[in-house]
Symmetry: C2
DNA sequence: CGTTAAGCACACAGGGCGGTATACATAACA
DNA sequence: TGTTATGTATACCGCCCTGTGTGCTTAACG
């Protein structure tokens, strides 16, 4: 989602500041956190004038909100849209997190901002609910007895793995995946959609 | 753990500034977060001179570490020590979180500090490991096939509930408890120590 | 080409932060 | 009572933060 580096001649150094800012924000906010990343630092890293940054975004809060918005489509949709997997496999695939993903940015933002009213916190809630809903959809497709419940449970497992990975500095997703397997097997009557 | 307000005449060595600082820190750090609570504000709320605060704690980092230390014994030991419950009930009781507890402070600290080297982050890891270990002990007592695994799984559920409660602003512990019940029943062979 | 909007460089304001200095007050205990 | 450890009051320092003001450059496009 960030392949707009530059064309034949350095023609992209003038335009496209907004994209540079956002992609740099994604990197720095993840690596260092939101509060520990100053606008000066961010602008320098993005090779963008501070003035320009503030012409694109009314303030840091707005930038943070936009930064979180950037994840919506891409994070887990790749999993849910895989038609090569059975619904059950899709549910489990949600726990195959590439090690490049340090932590769900929504949890980090909610904790760092510490203000449920902040637009970014709203996005975080919306996103979490959306993920749970998509999990529930897939659970229904897989023939779960109570898809909503299973979706909520799996979402909780993902968040637990994310939080625990962060605190312990050790990958907790395998543990979550193991739990997920148990829950899924318990929730699907016999093998309605369990296997292809 | 903070019933040392004052005796007949402030009976102990001057006055308990240190205790006031720590109990105020617990309150403010929880309510507002660590980074959003300045030392000026904290000292004012604790009715303590800033000078005094810095005589007790070398700096804010040290205060934060000490603040986290204050939780160690009290948080979950009350659950594990309850002899009136079966081991299985004790495992489930860990999910009966009183609504006064907004979020595990260790997760918050780890996210806010964003530095695994920070002493407070170390405490956070140690605490999380200790909780998992005690859960594993209880799981063993309950006759679980793989106590370590079950302990780790239950710990993940607790963290997931904490994180999700924070982000969504809605209690997620009942969901976690439901998962825990499934896991426990699956992990204990038949009913070895399942009931009294 | 010329126009125009986008971007740039850079200094600076205003404020909050963690932390310190100085000078003084009082509780506890011998 | 006097000494000492503890706490108080307040001003202050240097730093970094978000955010602006001003004037200039240049890319993009008709």
């Amino acid at each position: 989602m960030t392949e707009l580096e530059k064309g034949p001649t350095g023609r992209r150094r003038g335009r496209g500041a907004r994209e540079r800012i956002l992609s740099t924000a994604q990197q720095l906010f993840r690596e260092q956190g939101i509060n520990r990343t100053g606008m000066n630092e961010l602008c320098a890293a993005a090779e963008v004038s501070k003035r320009t940054a503030y012409q694109h975004f009314g303030g840091k809060d707005e930038l943070v909100a936009e930064y979180l918005r950037g994840f919506d489509p891409s994070v887990l949709s790749g999993v849910f849209d895989r038609t090569d997997l059975t619904p059950r496999e899709r549910l489990l695939a949600a726990f195959d997190i590439p090690p490049t993903t340090p932590l769900c940015p929504y949890i980090g933002a909610a904790v760092e901002l510490h203000d449920p009213q902040h637009p970014a916190s709203q996005y975080a809630r919306d996103y979490k609910k959306a993920v749970a809903a998509r999990l529930a959809d897939t659970a229904r497709e897989a023939g779960a007895a109570d898809p909503e419940q299973l979706g909520e449970q799996l979402a909780l497992l993902i968040d637990g793995a994310a939080a625990r990975t962060r605190v312990l500095d050790a990958d907790a997703f395998p543990t979550a995946a193991a739990i997920a397997a148990v829950l899924i097997d318990n929730a699907i009557p016999a093998s309605v959609g369990g296997d292809r």
